[in-house]
């Protein structure tokens, strides 16, 4: 039997499709998700298969998109709402944090909000430079928003399993898809560089539990905790460093809320050295949170200060030379690892 390989967008689409086949309460809507099939093709063919009632294009109205998802979820549906880029979530931010995230708690548990908000994030350098308003990583805001689950897969396999879990979850989930991860099929160099961006994905629906990190690579000398594209970059660097005798463990938390602290702490206790690598702006980042958790839980095991490798605190500039400079690159990761192990 041939092993079926999917890219990230295909895995996302398959998850949605199979879940919609399974459960007629699932609907999906957002800008361009219907007839066009989504800017990145993640909903291609779904309107054709499930009809215009269940797969809907919306006006440019992020507050209405999220609010509509809430109201539908409160009264028996299981909506998937798409925010076309996470950068636009500010237009519907009140609905996300004051309504969606808080309604169940405020109601004393009377209400149930099975909503998934899917949204792409991140830099597409060098494929398409999106500049300051189309390239952001904003997950840190949402781990600081009690009542939301936050999922940030890095691979097609994880994307399918985590999206199915998110759709089946009865709580609100913000499902963030790094845009660069969509391009491996169209741009062969990406696949060559980051082979896990096209991988075997089982045909049958399967779930990956929210709150379970994945050790993407075992290692002894240093623990790298990385998210989304930084997982791929870290893996590539780690393989190269292997030849220099440096053994790197790479952990992908996969979900930020809930966060699998145990897997992280276990690794830290083994290696004593930690680098956290994310594409976000440094200050107030998810990296800071993970660092804090490690300090609180494994301080005595640390052989060196934890390092954060993130974007500096500036908006993403347009020029490719500047965008490249801002986004953590493989050489930054390599330098950080080498410094950490004292090479």
């Amino acid at each position: 039997m041939e092993r079926r390989e999917l890219d990230f967008a295909e895995a996302v689409r398959e998850a949605i499709k199979q879940e919609m086949q399974r459960d007629s309460r699932i609907i999906i809507f957002g800008e361009d998700v219907g007839y066009f099939g989504g800017l990145f093709g993640c909903t291609k063919g779904l309107q054709q298969e499930f009809g215009e009632e269940r797969v809907r294009d919306t006006p440019i109205s992020e507050a209405a998109i999220i609010g509509t998802a809430i109201g539908a979820a409160l009264t028996g549906l299981r909506p998937i709402a798409e925010i076309e880029f996470i950068d636009f979530i500010g237009c519907g931010m009140d609905q996300v944090f004051n309504q969606l995230a808080k309604m169940r708690y405020m109601s004393g548990g009377q209400l149930k909000l099975p909503v998934v908000i899917r949204t792409p994030c991140g830099s597409r350098y060098p494929i398409a430079c999106g500049a300051a308003q189309h390239s952001q990583c904003l997950e840190a805001w949402f781990i600081h928003t009690p009542g939301l689950k936050v999922v940030i897969p890095s691979t097609p396999y994880d994307a399918k399993g985590l999206l199915i879990s998110s759709i089946r979850d009865d709580d609100p989930v913000l499902f963030i898809e790094h845009k660069f991860q969509y391009y491996a099929r169209r741009q062969p160099w990406i696949r060559e560089r980051y082979p896990k961006l096209i991988e075997y994905v089982p045909q049958e629906p399967y779930t990956i539990p929210l709150g379970k990190a994945d050790v993407k690579r075992d290692g002894e000398d240093v623990t790298v905790i990385a998210t989304m594209m930084m997982v791929h970059k870290s893996l590539r660097v780690s393989e190269a460093l292997e030849k220099e005798g440096i053994s790197v463990e790479v952990i992908d938390p996969r979900t930020l809320v809930p966060l699998d602290k145990d897997t992280i702490i276990k690794s830290v206790k083994k290696t004593g050295r930690v680098i956290i690598i994310t594409e976000e702006n440094l200050t107030g980042s998810v990296a800071s949170e993970i660092l804090s958790i490690i300090v609180e839980n494994a301080f005595d095991y640390l052989d060196a200060p934890i390092k954060r490798v993130c974007a500096p605190d500036v908006p993403i500039p347009y020029s490719p030379v500047l965008e490249r400079e801002v986004i953590p690159q493989e050489e930054d990761i390599e330098i950080a690892i080498k410094q950490m192990v004292g090479v």
Binding site: P59, A64, L74, T75, S107
Partner: protein, 327 residues
Amino acid sequence: MNPNLISNELLIEMYKKMLTIRRFEEKIAQLFAQGLIPGLMHLYIGEEAVAVGACMNLRKDDYVTSTHRGHGHCIAKGGDLKKMMAEILGKATGYCKGKGGSMHIVAPEVGIVCCTGIAGAGIPIAVGVGLSIKLRNTDQVCACFFGDGASNTGAFHEGINLASVWRLPVIFICENNYYAISVPFVKAFNIKDIAVRAQGYGIASAIVDGMDVLAVYEEVKKAVQRARAGMGPTLIECKTYRFRGHHEGDPKMGLMYRSEDELREWMKKDPIVKLKMRLINDGTLSEREINEIEKEIDAKIKEAEEFAINSPYPPLDAVKEDLFIGG
């Protein structure tokens, strides 16, 4: 409007509901003054005709989205006074186990599915309720209440437009009481009637005397019929007035920014007094029956008060509960 079409039973029912809201909130005002209420209270006194006139058209399985000034909606839709009062006092026996408070009382059992303190935020949520009704293919409707102030939020625009494009069974009921806290209508609008905005969305609209419960009833009835028939949303503007401050504790009950004359003029239109006079003049109710109704209601309020006061506060462990279903 032909008032003759409305049965006496219905009129009495409306009277009872309005009076219940009034007395419930007078009780709150009193408890607040006694320092027994921990949070801010936005009272609906003066506006009872809107909630009651609207909700009398709704079935139990119809939905309502409510606001920071939501007690009236909840009572009109059939909410439990005891659970409401307990919630307002922050007690474990309240609708939300004390976690929501006055601004967040939801009662899904009677269709109150959303109650938010963010002006306008209930509007897009009502749209989602409408979508769900449509896709589940029932003939339910959703009544979405909000204020004049909320009509200037982006959520209003995005929500109503989407409801129109998708032809959803939502009745948007604007409670125009002419103030958003201290800011008067004329400082926030360059139009006379909010209802004209319906034209920008291609939906039906109406302007109605929000101090006349029958007028509200009749206009909402038409909108509900249209909605149930799949003919889409309606925007109904009810001109009304709050008799008290924006919230309890608003200095001088709002007379810092409103004139006494204005307040007096509106109080002359008290919807409860008006209906009561009619019921008496019509001979529908005798003075004695009116008195009995009042007593009955007062007893219920008293019962709710005692229930709330005697209820325990939630246990501290409750803090960590109800965030996620999966714990």
